[in-house]
Amino acid sequence: MTVAGIFGRLTWSNLFPSVLVTQTAVVSMGLGLVAVVALVTYLRRWRWLWNEWLTTVDPKRIGVMYIIVAVLMLVRGGVDVILMRGQQVTSVGAAAGVVPTSTFQQLFSAHGTIMIFFVAMGLMFGIINLVVPLQIGARDVAFPFLNATSFWLFCSGMVLINASLGVGEFSTAGWLAYPPLSELQYSPGVGVDYWIWSLQIAGIGSLLSGINFFVTILRMRCRGMTLMRMPLFSWSVLCSMFLVMFAFPVLTVTLTLLFLDRAVGAHFFTAAAGGDMMMYVNLIWAWGHPEVYILVLPGFGIFSEVVATYSRKPLFGYVSMVLALAAITLLSFTVWVHHFFTMGAGADVNAFFGIMTMIIAIPTGVKIFNWLATMYRGRIHFSAPMYFFMGFIFLFTIGGVAGVMLAMPAIDYQLHNSLFLVAHFHTMIVSGVVFGDFAGLIYWLPKIIGFKMDDRLLKYSAWCWIVGFVLAFGPLYLLGFMGATRRTSHYASDTGWQPLFAVAGLGVVIIAVGVAIMLLQLLLSVQRRKQNRDTTGDPWNGRTLEWSIPSPAPVYNFAVLPVVEGRDAFWAAKQRGDASGAAAVRYVDILLPANTPAGLAIGMLAFVVGFALIWQMYWATPLAILAIIVVLAIRTTATDDSERVITAAEVEGIERSRARADLA
C-alpha cells in the first residue's frame, strides 16, 4: 500500500484553510484546546478528570458534560450567525461582503447543523440526564453504560464537525443536504461526507439515549408513582423519547443511502439510472418533523414545572396537559409533507397534510392556555426562568400563528424558503427550545452544583435575548413578504432590503451580549459559590421529588427511595410537615455501577470510523469496527462484577454533610 493509500484522499493541502475566518477559527480552537490541557496539567487534575468525568456512568455528571459541549457549540454556531448576518448587511450591490460565497454556504450549513444537533439536542439530553432520575425517584437510568456511550458518540460527532474546519471543508448543501446538490457530481469534496458521518454517529447516540430514558421512565419510577402522578417534565421526556426512538432510524437509513450514492455509486437519489431525489426529501422530513417536536416537548415540560413552582400553584389541567403531549406526539408523525408542499404533490396530498398541520396546533394551544391558567391567581415570583417563560409565551404564539399560515399550501407557495419561513422556525426553536432549556438550567443547576446563580444578571440576559430576538427576526418576517429568499449571500441594492438586514444585525449583536452576560454570570457564580450556596436543597420552594434531596445531589440521588402517594409529592410532604421523609431513617448499602472507560473508547473509535470513511482511508474502517466489537465483548464479560458499594455509613456521612431541608 502506498503512502497515498494509507491517507486515502487526505493530502497536505486539506490541512491549511485558505479563508481568513476559517483560519481564525482553527487557530482559536487550537489555542483553546492547548489552554485547557495546560490548565488541567497545571492544576494536576488529569487523574481526577479521568476518574470523575471521562469514565463516569453517573447521569448527573454526563448531563453536565452534555451541557458544556452544547454551550461551546452555541458559541460556535453563534459566531457562524454573526458572520452570516455581517455578510447579509454588507454584501449589497457592488460590495463584496465579509466572506466569500463558498464560505457563506458552509456557514449556513454548519450553523443549522450545529444548532439543531449539538446545541439543542445537547442541552436537551443534558437536562434530561440531570433531572429525570431525580424526578421519578430513581437512583440511576436503566442502562448507565449505554448512557455514557451515547454521550461519547455525541461528542464524537461534535469533534468531527469541528474537524471539518481545519481538515478539509464542510458541506455547502444546507443543514439537510438535499440531492442532487449533495450528490457526488455537485459536491465532490469531503464536506457532505463530514455532514453525513457527524450526524450518523451523533444520531446513533441519540437513538440509544431515547431507548434508555424511555425504559427508565417506564420501569424505574419509585413506588407509588403511577404515570398519572409523574411530573409533567418527565411526561414530556417520555413522549420526546418515544419520538426519538421511532424517528431516528429513518435518519440513519437516509444518511446511509446518501452515503452509498456518494461512496459506491448507488442510485437512490441520483438523477440518472432510476434514482428519485424526491424520496430523499420525503424521508429526511419524515425524520425532520418529529425531530422538532423531540426538541420542543421537553421545553414545554420545563415550562410546566417552572410556571407551577413560581406561581405557587399546582399546574392547571394536569390531565389535559398529558393528553396534549400524547396528541402532539402521535400527530407529529402525520404532518411532514408541510416541509415540501412546493415539491409538486397534488392538491389532495397537500390538503391532507395541511389540515393535519393545523390540527397539531390545537393541543399546543391547549398547553398555552393551561400555563396561563396556572399563573392566574397564583403568587407569582418573577424570577429569571419566568422571564424566559414570558418571552416564550409572547414569541411562541406569534411564531405559531405564522406556522398556521404556512400550513396552508396556497400561502406556503408564496413563502416557502423565504425569510418568513426562517423567522417562523427560529421563533419556535429559540422561544420554545432555547428559552425552555435556559429556564430549566437556571432552575435545576443549583440542585446539581450546590449553589444558585445570579438572578439579576440572568434577567438582564433574558431581556437581551427577548429584545435581541425581536430585532433579529422581526425584520425577517417582513423581508419574507418582500420576496427575500433564505441563504442569500448577496442581493441588489434596489430591493430595499439592506436597512432591515441592518436591524436584524443589531438584534444579533444584542443576543450576543445576552450570551456573554450568561457566560459571565456563570463565572461570577462559581467565584461566589460559597455565598450563593443552596442551603436547603429546595431553593425555589419546589413541588417535585428532586427538591427533597440535598444539594449538590449525592451520587446515589436518594439515600432512601421515596414512596409517593399523589402528584407533587414533595409539596404534599411539606404541607404535612414531613419534608425529610420518614422520621427514623434507616440507611442501607447502595449498589451503583462502576466507572468504565469503554464509553469513551467507543466514542473515539466511532470518530475513527467516520473520519476514515470521509477521507476514504478504507483500511481503517473495519479495524475500528472490530475494535468496537472487542470493547463491547470485553465490557459484557466484565459486567458480572462491575458494581461498587456505598456503605450505609458512607451514605449517612454524605447525607449529614450536605444541606437538607430538615437540617436548615
Partner: protein
Amino acid sequence: MSVQAARAVQHLDHEVEADDRAVFGFWVYLMTDCVLFASLFATYAVLHKNTAGCPSGHQLFDMPYVLAETMALLTSSFTCGLGMLAARDGRRNAVVAWFTATFALGLTFLTLELAEFHHLATTGAGWSRSGFLSAYFTLVGTHGVHITIGLIWMVVMISRVLGPGLTRGNVRRLTLLSIFWHFLDLVWIFIFTIVYLMGSARV
C-alpha cells in the same frame, strides 16, 4: 435478617429487575430496528420499478435457491427456540448443541446470500446499476449485516456457555440473542414476500 442476607436479597431483587429491564429495553430497540427496515422497505417499494434498462427482479431471482435460503433461516429460528427452552431448564449441553445448530444454519443462509450477491455483482447487476438494484442490495444486505452480527454474537455466547456455563448473566444474554434471531426471521418473511415473491409475480 443478617446484614449479609439483607444485602444478598437486595442484590438478587436488583438483578431480577435488571434482567426485566434488559429484555424490555432490547425489545424496544428491536421496535426501532423495525422502523429502520420499514424505511428500507419504503425505499425499495418506491424504487423497485426503476430498473433503468437493467434486469428486473423477475429476471434475476433464482426462486428455488431463495426457498432454500428461507428454509435454512426458518429452521435456525426453530433451533434457536429449542436452545432457549434448554437454557430455561438449565440443560447446558443441549444449549450448546441447539445454538451450534442455529449457528450452522445461519451461516448457511449467509453463505448462500453472499454467493447470490457475488453472482449478481459479477454478471453486471451490481449495486450501482440502477435504483432498483441499489434498493435491493441495501435492503437485503442490511438484513445480512444483522445476521452477521447475530452470528458473531452467537459464537461469543456459545463459548461463554462452554466456559462459565449458564450463569444468570449468560441466560439473560442468550434471551436477548434469541429474541434478536427470531426478529431477523420475521423481517425475512417480508423480504421473501415483498422482494422475491412479488418480484417474481410481476412479470
